[in-house]
Symmetry: C2
Subunit: 348 residues, 2 copies
Amino acid sequence: MVTIRDVAKESGFSSTTVSIVLNDAPLARYIPPVTKKRIEKAAEKLGYRPNQFARSLRSKRSHTVGVMVFDMTDPYCTLVLRGIENTLYQASYLPILTDVHNERSRFERYLEMLLDRRIEGLVVLANWLFLDLNLLADLEKSSIPTALIAHELKGDSMSSVIVDNEVGGYLALEHLHALGHRKIAFIRGPKTLADSSPRWRGIRKCAKACGLELDERLVVDLPESRDPLSSFEMGQRLTENLIKQRRQFTALLAFDDVSAYGAIRGLAKAGLRVSDDCSVIGFDDVAASSLCTPALTTVRQPMEAMGADAVGIVLEGINCVLEKREVTAHHRKVAPELVVRESTRRLG
Amino acid sequence: MVTIRDVAKESGFSSTTVSIVLNDAPLARYIPPVTKKRIEKAAEKLGYRPNQFARSLRSKRSHTVGVMVFDMTDPYCTLVLRGIENTLYQASYLPILTDVHNERSRFERYLEMLLDRRIEGLVVLANWLFLDLNLLADLEKSSIPTALIAHELKGDSMSSVIVDNEVGGYLALEHLHALGHRKIAFIRGPKTLADSSPRWRGIRKCAKACGLELDERLVVDLPESRDPLSSFEMGQRLTENLIKQRRQFTALLAFDDVSAYGAIRGLAKAGLRVSDDCSVIGFDDVAASSLCTPALTTVRQPMEAMGADAVGIVLEGINCVLEKREVTAHHRKVAPELVVRESTRRLG
DNA sequence: TCCCGAAGTTCGATTTAAATG
DNA sequence: GCATTTAAATCGAACTTCGGG
């Protein structure tokens, strides 16, 4: 390994001068261009690369941000991660990726490891979450700027970036209603999932505004599960039950895209076609939703932007701690967007 | 921050002894249990956590592995990443995730950053790849154990883990043939993609074995593109063209799952139903394939296992360099598996 | 006083060599 | 010589202090 001393020797200057020149430190003002050239040449020639360990040891900076995902296999993650990666890249930060598998022990172990690595910030993707977030309380005192994606939060200990679930729910029902649907089935999210209730609130709000009466017998709930893909199977089963019980409905509003896929499968098994016999709308706009046939009408979360936003907040927080200003938590609630595709159609 | 010296002071011993005890170094044999207890108590009490920068500076180890993905948005990545993460976790390594976006400049920048971080190993997910892998040549001399996933490689500079594309192609056609299909359309991969030709070779091999004649007019190629999702659009367009030209076929074998989705969309637009009017088979078994309706019959790559395998090879390589044994490259070609679902059916 | 450069200290842990009884 | 403990050197870069011209 070639060190700064090697460059010093090669260039004929001291390591101090080399350090000053190569880092373009304030004192570099005083160093004549000839010296700089000589040093830069020597560094180039030897292929000198500063040792980040030594650097970090002194500066106490890692230029690293932790990314904690609760379940990578959730298709929701992909685009969010892209947004996170891209924004970090532009700021020359590198992400350490951890996948907690929705397990408490893994969460704790990873958190410890990240802290040990002196991450300067943390982004937590807590969408399909069945862990107590109090586990993150340790972070507060650690003074590591943290942003939670997809999980609402109050207070000023951590920032949060979520989609406006209530507006999303409203949008979804409004769309179905505008298409003439009146008998609508609902697959709600698991009660223990934070997203579930605001989405339902938006739905009720819209129903009220439209003068639509919600038939309770057409409303079912996904059960709690650690696995985001379980909502497929449950979506299917719940839909099949609804059909078996001969409940009539011309449209179905699913909790998310994956449960919508399940519903579509359930309908297909019963010989019902989307969208001819029944319209289906999802939530999220996961990548597969534009790829499947019929393409899924859904309420889009701007996932890439949310990832980028979370990183932006964390980066700002990092700057705050560097400049010893106070870190202020931000709570963003971004607008969802209705994406009309092929799985919904006008009634009649 | 509490340092080892703080623990030394608190316990009444020197930092040397503290280090020896807490690391259970060889010399710890000579240290009486009482001393150990006292030191451990002090460390516990102060909440001592060793500074990884200082540690790494001395040991020249980072306990970090670089993960380089060529395009995160490729649905192929998800499960591979899960396999990588899980295996690294068990070995107490942490991954730095980089997404090259199939861009040369990004590749080079990230590679430099990873090298600067002194990654001990590198896993490259090079599935949908349009970059010259010679860019990785720098790695050879760096003596960082590297494994490439989804890109065949010879030689002993780097390891590789790929699926047996030829067998996969064979399996796919064999399945369609066994179902009675004789007029089969083929969407081949881009010529510049390494997977394309072995898959086609397997297909031809199977055709020969079955005595099946391949109709060249039913064979189309995906164009080259940096974006893995472009194969959806192209799959659709190529299928529509085939139909417009009134080419008769009862089954379609797509290059991968995403192009199969495109083909299904194309068929649907023409009023053709999968699998009643046309069977479709994909390749990969991406998560969405079991979720869409009809569920896609496909040739599965054991993605999670491949990720785990790649990490296993890299970890072994790391041990080799630590023990100054020679690092030997491994080239794994894993067996694909036919997954029969709903998109294919017996003819007639 | 201003400009330039070097010697020496620091960051925190590990390890070698050596000092105690 | 042995068990027990520690001072001092080391890893590589960055910064503080100081001196010479």
